[in-house]
């Protein structure tokens, strides 16, 4: 799937913004992931072309960072931290509950395609609100079974965050701090750069 024109334009603009165009690789990978949901080898090839850099360099960089996805996932992304500070406040039990509610194992997607979840040992920076998880990159802290139920319920019916945004659907109710979309900031960037 070829990159959409706005993505190509964004990557071109990024290359001009940094003193070295190579610095635009990670932002370019983000732009691709926000457009397509994950980063394919073909897309990395396109980035390489736009930046006039070897494709191997783009792939080497992309494969280092845990947040770049290489395969399609569910509409919503749920990540739960099980590092020690979260473990101390019951993250293992919370993860087990989430797994039970979703009915799929760590790293898998629910059959309806709504949710991909996984546990992570990489601290997400919310130890003071443990147990916690990130839902589409938004913090959900001080989790209880009831809160998890409400979040899962919402995600099962809600379209992917950027689709909701495009349709003008109000973001999900309930959990504080969970709104808008992972796509939004880059879209805003794009609009702004177009103005400049």
């Amino acid at each position: 799937m070829a990159l959409a024109t706005p993505t190509v334009e964004e990557i071109t603009a990024l290359a001009a913004r940094y003193p070295s165009k190579q610095s635009a690789i990670i932002p370019a990978l983000w732009a691709v992931q926000h457009e397509q949901g994950y980063v394919t080898k073909e897309a990395m090839g396109e980035i390489a072309q736009i930046l006039a850099l070897p494709p191997s360099l783009i792939e080497a960089t992309a494969s280092f960072y845990s947040m770049f996805l290489t395969r399609p996932e569910g509409r919503h992304d749920v990540v739960i931290c099980v590092n020690a500070p979260c473990m101390l406040r019951g993250a293992d039990e919370t993860a087990a509950y989430l797994e039970q509610q979703l009915g799929v194992r760590d790293g898998q997607t629910t059959p309806d395609g709504a949710i991909t979840w996984h546990s992570t040992i990489e601290c997400l920076g919310a130890c003071g609100g443990a147990p916690m998880m990130q839902v589409d990159h938004r913090f959900e802290e001080n989790l209880t079974p009831e809160r998890i139920d409400a979040i899962v319920q919402r995600l099962r019916t809600q379209p992917a965050a950027h689709v909701a945004k495009a349709r003008g659907v109000a973001p999900g109710e309930g959990a504080a701090g969970s709104s808008a979309s992972a796509t939004e900031p880059l879209r805003r960037n794009r609009a702004k750069r177009a103005q400049n």
């Binding site: 990670i26 101390l88 293992d92 040992i121 702004k192």
Partner: protein, 428 residues
Amino acid sequence: MGLKPVLTKDFHTENLEQLAVYERTGGYAGFKKALEMQPDELVELVKTSGLRGRGGAGFPTGNKWSFLPKGVYPRYLICNADESEPGSFKDRYLIEKSPHQVLEGILIASYAIGCNLAFIYIRGEYLPQHEALEAAIDEARQAGYLGKNVLGKGYDVDVILHRGAGAYICGEETALLTSLEGNRGEPRLKPPFPAVKGLYGKPTIVNNVETVANLPHIVINGADWFAAMGTPTGKGTRLWCMSGHVNRPGNYELENGTPIRELIEEHGGGVWKNRKLKAFQPGGASMMVLLPEHLDVGLDFDAIQKAGSLAGAGAMVVMDETTCMVDAARRYVKFFHHESCGKCTPCREGTFWMSNLFDRFEAGDAKPGDIDLLLDMGYNIEGRSFCPLGDASTWFPRSVIKYFRDEFQEHISEKGCPFKKTPQEAVA
């Protein structure tokens, strides 16, 4: 110590993230005052204040700045917002509550060191915080605090907000540089230090979020005011991120030197569920464990080091009497294994083997002699790895063996974790 907070003093103000509100609390007065000063004066001011870096190593900020080679341009300032130390969440809080305070600090530091292009490297997981900073940068640009000829003073400065993509190692300053240049986030050999040869081979200063957030206050109130707070070698305040088994986890800004007891018992409301304190870590995942007997140690780089641990990023992880210390260490080792960049063998292979051995303890498969084997692995990583990540992976486990060796023995003799009814599955 009845000290008024410095960085968080206006955090109760609603909409502080908005420029107009921030200005009403005195925001950007520090930057305006700085622009009336000579850059060298600012470097001296920060040196005299005694401000030490808040990212973990505690290096004096003014000294770091003065390592820049004279006459070599361009120079870059990077604000390190790649906060990833397990237990640490202060930079996130500072950015969320007052992104302009961070930005003002960046502008002051940039002017002081003669930098016209600054970067904020923010971890990929901090999306809402990325948005907060992005909005702040836009507002500040429109208000003329950044851009060409700032406030008519003939100084040009711009800030690029750069989002990481999930890698603990990129908080290490040389790995951050490599990552910002578009590569895999592998650390570089020091020397040359970034101040001499950093981003794109140019002189570069990397300062933590909390470090730069102190600058507006130092410029406004003076070096003596700052130096009057804290201890002789640890001036000012620090944000302590408290997590684990306390009644009120969260961020607390306290004067350096405040006893650990006050943080945990007064501010944190003590250990939860009326349980007893077993141990705590004063500096996040990397740092050695301390015991209740250390509660009267002051929250200060040097005092904590003297007690046998390190203050690191200011992350206080509290563990009650029900905590399995072996499992806590196992998580951390697993974390370091996951985050090892793979560049050097002692860290890449060592953390892998340590992690496997910890799984054996937790699963009940450990044998007599495995405790010493763990120690031996640690000695073969520490001091032999390329960067501090490898070293840090050994500190907590080794300190736990020192203080809680009997728990390891129990895992061997009882063929499993004595704190759990069933052996726990390995963490993915």
